[in-house]
Each structure stands twice: as C-alpha cells, then as structure tokens.
C-alpha cells in the first residue's frame, strides 16, 4: 500500500518532469518568434545549450547546494558534496513521496529555466561565450543558493512567518528576471530601438512560433505548478491546476483588454504575454488561492505586463521578449499576492514576502552585476555593431535560420 502510494506519487512527479522539460521548448519558440529572423539560430542555440549545461551543473553541484539537507536548516548556505549519490533507500518510500532520481530530475529541469529567462531579454546582441559563462555561474551557484533559502529549508523558510513561494514566482522567475534586468542595463539596447528620444518597434519574426511557445509554456506549467505539490494528492494538485488555468485565462483577457484600450489594437503579443503574466503571478500561491483569488491575480498580472512593457521602454531598457515584465514584475506581484489573497493573507505574511523579495532581489542583482559586469570589463559582452546589424546568425554562427525557404508562387 505504502509502496503503491509511492509509485503513484512518483509517477505524477515524473510526468511533471516531462512537462517542465517541454517548457524549454516553449521558451525557445517564444524567444525566437519574438525576435528578428537574423538572430534565430542564435536564440535557438542558446536555449539548447543552456538546457544541457543546466542539467549537468545541477548534477555536479546544484542539487547539493539547493537541498543540502536538514543539517543546514535555517542557514544561508549549505552544501552536501559533489554529485548526486543515490543509495538503495533513496528509491524507496523512505526517501519521501518519490525516488531521489525523480526528485533530482524535477529540480534539475527547474534549474535551467532561470538562465533561459535571461536569454530572451539579452537576445539579438549578446556574445555567446560571455552568455554561456554567465549562465553556468548563475545556474550552478546563484539559483541553487537562493533556492536553498526557502525550498532547501534555509532561513527564509524558518522565519516566524515563513516566506511563501509555492512554485517559484520569486525563486525561479524573479531570480531569472533580476539577472535579465541587470544584463540589459549593462548591455544597452539594440541598435535602432531608442533613437532621438523616441522608441521604435522592432517586431519579432514569427508569431505562430511565439504562439506555439506560449501554449507549450502553459502546458509545461501544469507540471511546474502541479508538480510543486510534490505528490499526486488529488485535492492539492487538481486545485493548483484550476487556479493556474484561471489565472492564465484572466491574464489573457486583461492584457488583451488593457492593451486594446491603451493602444486601440488587438495585440497578439500582448495577449500571449498576458497568459504568461497570469501563470507567473499565480505561481507563488497556486495552492493557497480560491477561484476568485486566482482570477484577480491573473487580471492584475495581465495589466502589469502591459504597463511593464511600456515602463521599460520609458526607461530605455530594451527587453525584446518582455521577459522582465513577465518574470520579474509578475513574479514580484505573485509573491506579494500570497499576502493579499488566499489562505495565508495577512500583514505578517506581506512583511515576510517583502523580506524574501528584497533579499533575493538584492543578491541576484549584486551577483549579476559582478558576473556580467566582470565579463563586460574583461572582454566585452556585446557583439560589434556591424555584427549586430548583419545578425548574429551570420556573424556568430555562420548559419541561417531559413537558408532554403521557398515561397514559389506569390
């Protein structure tokens, strides 16, 4: 019976792995769809390599840094040693609701996400090697160390009113978002984006691809949030699925309407960002919210993303895919929302949420500044102007995304 229960929980967690895995394809499609056709190979390449790197570094030390074990409860840092040793007991109910293999792989799939978020924001102008070096360091160290603070049982988890972040509005999305913010600040905007005080549109090259990406991300989010229940508990997981979907739906509608009112057009890219806004927004409290809470969270998130995109343009911060409004702004919103809506709502919770947001934001910003700033000082992080104009595909890869496309008849 216990074994069977273990089997079922483990099964659900394995499925969640598959779902989170497919989010990487979602990111690859979204980011390449929303950027220009001359940089497509570059974006795809980054997404492919980041996933591989993320899995490997998480194997080598990430998992050990993030889940160092009871011994480090309440701490700021812990490390259980290199590698992922799996003892015989680790694949039995003794280990928990799933095997250690499953546990590890689920976490590993999460890990690469943070760097992938960055890749969208810095698209179309960053050099490959500095990006890879940053990604390795960020995924190998910053992401797991920060994750340990809460999910690894660290100090944010042992606060009197523990900081709450169910599936990672802050721990995953904002962690990626902060790095993205620092990166685009240090990188500067793409040539032609801001000129003479005006903002110019640089449209992406493939909206169907972007749409596929967003649907796949939603699909993956079933596992991202649903899997974060860490068992197949019917009540828990199915509730999370409902709150997740309703927030996404509300985010869509609100981004659609807000952007329609503001700009008088039916903007597909805004509706797509609205979906993601709702999803990121609900992530921190997906298990704590009721139906109405979720809808409110999604509605606000959808509006945030529309205003956030405008705000960044005001600040001349160039984020081609809207990674920062989606992952950082809505990540913050979602984390705060745990203190405002749902079962945990309350003043103390809001304070804890703010503490978490601020400390994690702090370390992420500082770390990103050091790493990316260092890379910038050392060898530069931005491709030469001529290469940017020609496109990274040709200049960095010597490959084109659509070298033999045919549209025979007009």
């Amino acid at each position: 019976m216990e074994v069977l229960n273990f089997t079922v929980n483990n099964l659900w967690m394995m499925i969640s792995i598959f779902l989170v895995f497919i989010m990487h394809l979602g990111f690859a499609c979204l980011e390449s769809g929303m950027t220009r056709g001359k940089n497509t190979v570059n974006i795809l390449f980054k997404n492919v390599i980041i996933l591989a790197i993320g899995l490997l570094t998480y194997t080598i030390l990430g998992f050990s840094l993030m889940y160092p074990g009871e011994a480090f409860a309440g701490d700021w840092f812990g490390f259980a040693g290199f590698g992922v040793p799996v003892a015989d007991a680790d694949v039995t109910p003794e280990y928990g609701d799933m095997t250690k293999w499953t546990d590890f792989l689920f976490q590993a799939m999460f890990a690469a996400t943070a760097a992938t978020i960055v890749s969208g924001a810095v698209a179309e102008r960053i050099k490959l090697w500095p990006f890879f070096i940053f990604s390795i360091l960020y995924v190998a160290f910053i992401y797991p160390i920060v994750g340990m603070w809460k999910w690894g049982g660290g100090w944010l988890h042992t606060l009197d009113t523990p900081f709450y972040d169910f599936a990672g509005s802050t721990l995953v999305h904002s962690v990626g978002g902060w790095a993205a913010l620092v990166a685009i600040f240090l990188l500067g905007s793409r040539i032609g984006k801001y000129k003479d005080g005006k903002t110019f549109a640089i449209a992406g090259h493939n909206m169907p691809l972007a749409t596929i990406g967003v649907f796949l991300l939603w699909f993956g989010w079933f596992g991202f949030n649903g899997g974060s229940v860490l068992s197949a508990d019917p009540a828990g997981v199915s509730k999370v699925l409902v709150t997740t979907c309703l927030a996404a739906a509300a985010g869509t509608v609100s981004a659609f309407l807000v952007s329609y009112i503001m700009y008088k057009n039916f903007d597909l890219s805004m509706a797509l960002n609205g979906i993601l806004a709702g999803l990121v927004g609900i992530t921190a409290g997906a298990d704590q919210m009721g139906i109405l809470d979720s809808i409110w969270i999604g509605l606000v998130a959808g509006a945030i993303v529309v205003f956030g995109i405008a705000l960044l343009d005001k600040l001349k911060l160039d984020d081609p895919v809207g990674a920062i409004p989606v992952h950082l702004f809505c990540g913050i919103w979602g984390t705060l929302a745990v203190g405002i809506f749902g079962d945990l709502a309350g003043g103390k919770q809001i304070v804890s949420q703010l503490v978490g947001i601020a400390t994690i934001g702090g370390i992420c910003v500082v770390a990103s500044f050091i790493i990316i700033g260092g890379l910038k000082a050392l060898g530069g992080i931005r491709v030469p102007e001529e290469e940017e104009l020609v496109g990274l595909d040709r200049s960095e890869h010597g490959m084109l995304a659509y070298p033999d496309f045919r549209m025979d008849d007009h």
Binding site: T199, F200, A201, I202, A203, S259, M262, Y263, K264, N265, D267, S269, M270, V306, I309, A310, D313, G322, H410
Partner: protein
C-alpha cells in the same frame, strides 16, 4: 520595345491581371517590393505605434512592342486605381533587344 514597370497595390493584383488578360497581355513578370511614398500605414507592436511609409507593393514588368504601350498603360491606370493615396506608379523605359531562351527568337517574336 518598351518595358512598362507598374508598381501597384498587392490587393489590386488580381483585378489588374484580369484586365491585362482581357486586353490580350498574357506575358509579364512580377515580384513583391516595398514602396516608400505618400501612403502611410499604421502598425502597432507591443504598444508602440509605428507609422511606416514602407508599404508592401507588387511590381509588374511588362515588355511590349511600342504600339501597345498606350493601351497597356491605360488598362493599368484604370484597373489598379482605388483613388486613394498609394495607388502606385508606372514607369516606361526602352528595351533594345529581347530574346526567347527556348528558341532564340528575337524582339517582337520573343514577346509572346
């Protein structure tokens, strides 16, 4: 022989083609271009309106004997017209020689 190059709205292409066929002009070459002119087109992307003067157009390149130029031009002028800014232009230039690749026919004989 003259080359008539007509830069027209893509949405008018079918009408123009039929009008040309009706006049017996069954031979031409066309491709898609962008035109910069008086017409402005409003697009929006993620909240940024960009009014672009680059409009998608189609160029028809028709080589005909001198005697036919006027009739083709008239046909084009009437079938491609909407009366709105952006209907396009027609340019006439001289062609000194024409060959048909299939059988090396030249000039008049090559045009049909």
């Amino acid at each position: 022989m003259k080359k008539i190059e007509a830069i027209i709205r893509k949405s008018k292409y079918d009408e123009v083609k039929e009008a040309l066929h009706a006049k017996g002009v069954d031979f031409f070459t066309y491709w898609d271009v962008s035109g910069i002119g008086n017409e402005e087109s409003g697009l929006t992307y993620r909240g940024i309106k960009y009014s672009t003067y680059d409009i998608a157009r189609r160029v028809l390149s028709i080589v005909v004997e001198d005697s036919k130029v006027d009739s083709v031009v008239e046909t084009l002028l009437s079938s491609a017209r909407t009366g709105e800014v952006g209907d396009g232009k027609i340019f006439i230039s001289n062609i000194e020689k024409a060959y048909r690749v299939r059988n090396s026919d030249v000039d008049g004989g090559a045009l049909s």
